[in-house]
């Protein structure tokens, strides 16, 4: 790391002859020695206190609880989990739930944030004002307030399963979550998905070839219809040939609840809505600042070269704006991951709620659990930061 050399204390000449306190190197040594001694002493005191406190409370420390039976249910499990599973498994169930909600929120917040940010720059006065109002309202209300609002005031006041009327014939908005048709898979469905994958792959290859052709200076031809045929036609053909192995399972009201169909918990929805819309307001500001920071001369130069408005945006403004947008965007993504821990307030079984909440209450291993919780969030933060730094380098000016 480079710091200005000017902060050097060497600049001050020794004033009193022979005073050790005036020797910068000696002073630096003393300061650092005192600091290290203080840190070690504080650390040792804390450790001693913990040891004595734990001994007094008769708490055995250790990580043995990971292997014990958890005995509590979790309302959303993407990996197999029952009440007989271990705390170790509950740990992973929670972690997966955190990652799921973070990933979804990152996607939605990015889309919404870019849309709102660009809308703020629109020449349409009404739209720009509307986007501004969105940003100002959303970012000036606490996130927890918004989560509780979505959970209690919006999703909590939806009608019960028996009173709800379907949207589009099959999607039910109820106070127990959103219920929608599930995709049922019979043998042979693998072929259909395989066909879909191959279609995408071929479409990508086509696009690559087309780009090369363009770079070689050949005439640009549109392959839109062929791409569409590959992505839609190929799986459709497989679907018909294998005898329709993929079907939609419609939800049915039986008794007080729905059977068949898939359900999204209201906790997940509230957290997802709140996280996405809240963070989108920050992303919108980042996007706006990034676009505005591209000098006007760039746009003018592009126009005078005869590029269309669309090409100018895509090929001249966007790449330059992205360089400014990505670093602050990274910290927003980190914020989403960290803020997803607010799930604890509404009971979405994320990592924090399952581990630092229920597991901590049941085992009483406060030190181990909180230390692990912090370590996990640090690890997620670090991983996101590393990935985004890599991406940032990838789009940065080469050789600059």
């Amino acid at each position: 790391m480079k710091r200005p050399a000017a902060e050097s204390k060497a600049a001050a000449p020794p004033r009193r002859g022979g005073s050790l306190a005036a020797d910068p190197r000696f002073r630096a040594f003393v300061v650092q020695a005192i600091l290290l001694i203080a840190i070690v002493w504080i650390g040792w005191t804390l450790f001693e206190n913990i040891r004595q406190n734990l001994a007094a409370q008769k708490i055995a420390s250790g990580f043995g609880f990971f292997g014990e039976t958890a005995g509590f249910g979790i309302s959303q499990t993407l990996i197999p989990y029952t009440e007989e599973s271990t705390y170790g498994r509950a740990f992973f169930v929670g972690l997966v739930n955190t990652l799921i909600v973070s990933a979804l929120a990152i996607v939605f917040a990015t889309i919404l944030g870019f849309a709102v940010g660009i809308a703020r720059l629109s020449r349409n006065v009404l739209l720009a004002r509307l986007a501004e109002a969105y940003v100002e309202v959303l970012r000036n209300l606490p996130l927890l307030f918004q989560i509780l609002f979505w959970y209690l005031a919006v999703l909590g006041t939806l009608p019960g399963p028996r009173q709800s009327t379907p949207l589009l014939g099959a999607v039910y908005l109820t106070n127990r979550g959103i219920i929608f048709p599930k995709i049922g898979l019979e043998p042979g469905s693998g072929i259909v998905f395989g066909a879909l994958g191959i279609g995408f792959l071929l479409a990508l290859i086509l696009r690559f070839l087309q780009r090369r052709q363009m770079l070689m200076g050949s005439e640009r031809r549109s392959f839109g219809w062929l791409t569409l045929l590959l992505i839609v036609g190929l799986p459709a053909l497989a679907f018909v040939l294998t005898g329709a192995p993929v079907s939609l399972k419609w939800p049915e009201l039986r008794g007080f609840n729905f059977v068949g169909g898939a359900r999204l918990n209201p906790e997940l929805l509230a957290l997802l809505f709140a996280l996405s819309t809240y963070t989108a307001s920050f992303i919108a500001e980042i996007v706006r600042a990034g676009v505005l920071a591209v000098p006007r001369g760039q746009t003018e130069a592009a126009f005078s070269l005869g590029l269309s408005r669309r090409t100018t945006l895509r090929r001249v403004v966007a790449p330059q704006a992205m360089r400014l947008i990505v670093p602050p965007l990274t910290s927003q993504y980190l914020n989403i991951t960290k803020n997803s821990s607010l799930a604890a307030a509404i009971g979405y079984p994320d990592f924090f709620y399952v581990f630092a909440g229920t597991t901590l209450n049941q085992t009483g291993q406060a030190i181990e659990i909180i230390a692990i919780t912090m370590a996990v969030y640090l690890a997620i933060s670090l991983a996101t930061a590393i990935f985004m730094n890599w991406y940032n380098r990838a789009i940065a000016l080469k050789g600059a």
Binding site: E7, A21, L126, L342, A366, Y377, S381
Partner: protein, 454 residues
């Protein structure tokens, strides 16, 4: 001469006048209806406004219940139930702070406003005194007023190592213990002597060292005296504090503690001494990497285990410590941004004048750096203000917590109670955060207009 196709033979037709020459009305119309896509966007925007605004106005004003004393008055109307807010207003603002003692939080809020206003107005004089009052005196006064003071301190430093029970009992009749204050005096003498000896050993100025140590100890003594004296105020436990009072206490404590701590951390992070630098980096990155809620859990469940068994902290204080450390890490990064933008010439000029490190920082670098980052500090405070809501997860009832708790009151159970509560909380949070963000913007423009530091 052959005819060249690119040479004009006739004048080009006149271009339409540039957009700026149009009237405002036509420009407005063009911005809304210039192209079909634009027209569609306009229709979409109008649709959204029509969908949101009229129901909101109807709920908040037209259909709202304005007077009444119970839930029955609100059942008739579909709009907001304002009598609910009026009935619960005391709880929303003070929590369960005893009604007879509410003049104390009021006084604290008034002092805070009086000290903060001139601090925020750039033209107001006496900034240094003002800042000293706000960051040094005000927290102590607030502490005494809110808790009632009279801490009944038992032992200082030496008392922890020696048996000090010979002169026990409460002395003076004003809430001070002989044991503590003799302990304090002796400890102070010992500390000053140690500092003097160290200075002599290093052949530095003994007088300067003793003066500095003496001033720090005197300041500490005055603070301890203030919180230990019995002013005759009824003690109010922090458990009964709540509502907006707690929101403000958490936010203001966070900022008052995190600003000096953040400055120190930022300086430490830019230090040339590797031990100092890495210690600061580790501290900052650790707190920035974990969510605030884990910090609050840490403070609530783990902090008691870290402390000696005879030291117990109250729940609110624990949360405050967590919030302050968390905020300090973020503040450090804001201040670091300011430090980095001060040009090297400033450091060099200060060094050329013969200023040492602390004078260079205190007189030359920090005043410029901090002025530059005032908007960042205010934005940090907005974040902190919003984050205070998280304390409700560790069972401290701030404004949002009180409002949420009030939903459970069967006396006010109506279909609109929920929305009314959220509307009230939303308006308060929005007014504060939006106001502060405008202030940050104003300062930013002002700083930009003066030209940046270097």
């Amino acid at each position: 001469m052959t005819t060249r196709t690119f040479v004009r033979t006739a004048f080009a037709p006149n271009e339409p006048p540039p957009l700026e020459a149009d009237s405002t009305a036509s420009r407005f119309a063009r911005s809304l209806f210039a192209t079909p896509a634009n027209f569609a966007l306009t229709v979409l925007s109008v649709g959204i406004v029509a969908l949101v605004l009229p129901p909101l106005i109807r709920f908040l004003f037209l259909d709202a219940t304005w007077s009444g004393t119970s839930r029955d008055d609100c059942l008739a109307n579909a709009g907001a139930c304002w009598p609910f807010v009026r009935a619960k207003f005391g709880q929303f603002i003070y929590g369960f702070y005893p009604a007879a003692e509410r003049w104390r939080p009021n006084l604290v809020l008034a002092f805070g406003a009086l000290l903060l206003a001139p601090l925020l107005i750039p033209a107001a004089p006496f900034k240094r005194t003002n800042a000293l009052l706000f960051f040094g005196v005000y927290p102590v006064v607030s502490f005494v007023l809110l808790t009632g003071g009279n801490l009944d301190l038992q032992k200082f430093l030496l008392g922890r190592f020696l048996q000090w029970t010979t002169v026990a009992g409460v002395g003076f009749g004003i809430g001070l213990r002989w044991a503590f204050w003799t302990d304090f005096l002796f400890s102070a003498v010992v500390i000053v002597a140690l500092v003097a000896a160290l200075a002599a050993l290093l052949r530095a100025s003994v007088f300067a060292a003793v003066t500095a140590a003496g001033m720090v100890l005197a300041g500490l003594g005055i603070i301890l005296l203030a919180v230990d004296l019995d002013f005759g105020l009824a003690p109010v436990e922090t458990r009964s504090w709540g509502g907006f009072l707690v929101t403000l206490i958490v936010a203001v404590t966070g900022i008052v503690v995190s600003l000096p701590l953040g400055v120190l951390l930022a300086l430490g992070r830019r230090s040339r001494m590797p031990a100092v630098r890495y210690a600061c980096i580790l501290f900052i990155e650790f707190w920035r990497g974990v969510p605030l809620i884990t910090v609050l859990f840490f403070a609530t469940y783990m902090l008691p285990l870290f402390l000696p068994r005879d030291v117990t902290f109250d729940t609110l204080l624990r949360a405050l410590i967590g919030v302050a450390l968390f905020a300090a890490a973020y503040m450090a990064e804001v201040v670091r941004g300011g430090l980095q933008s001060i040009s090297r010439g400033q450091h060099e000029a200060a060094a050329a004048l013969g200023l040492g490190y602390w004078r260079m920082m205190g007189l030359i670098i920090l005043p410029q750096a901090l002025t530059l980052v005032i908007p960042g500090i205010v934005n940090n405070f907005i974040g902190l203000f919003k984050d205070t809501t998280l304390v409700l997860i560790v069972a401290i009832f701030d404004l949002l917590g009180q409002i949420r708790a009030s939903f459970a009151d069967p006396n006010w159970a109506t279909p609109v109670t929920l929305y009314t509560g959220f509307a009230f909380a939303g308006v308060i949070y929005f007014v504060f955060c939006f106001g502060m963000s405008r202030y940050a913007l104003y300062i930013e423009r002002r700083t930009a207009a003066y030209g940046r530091g270097s």
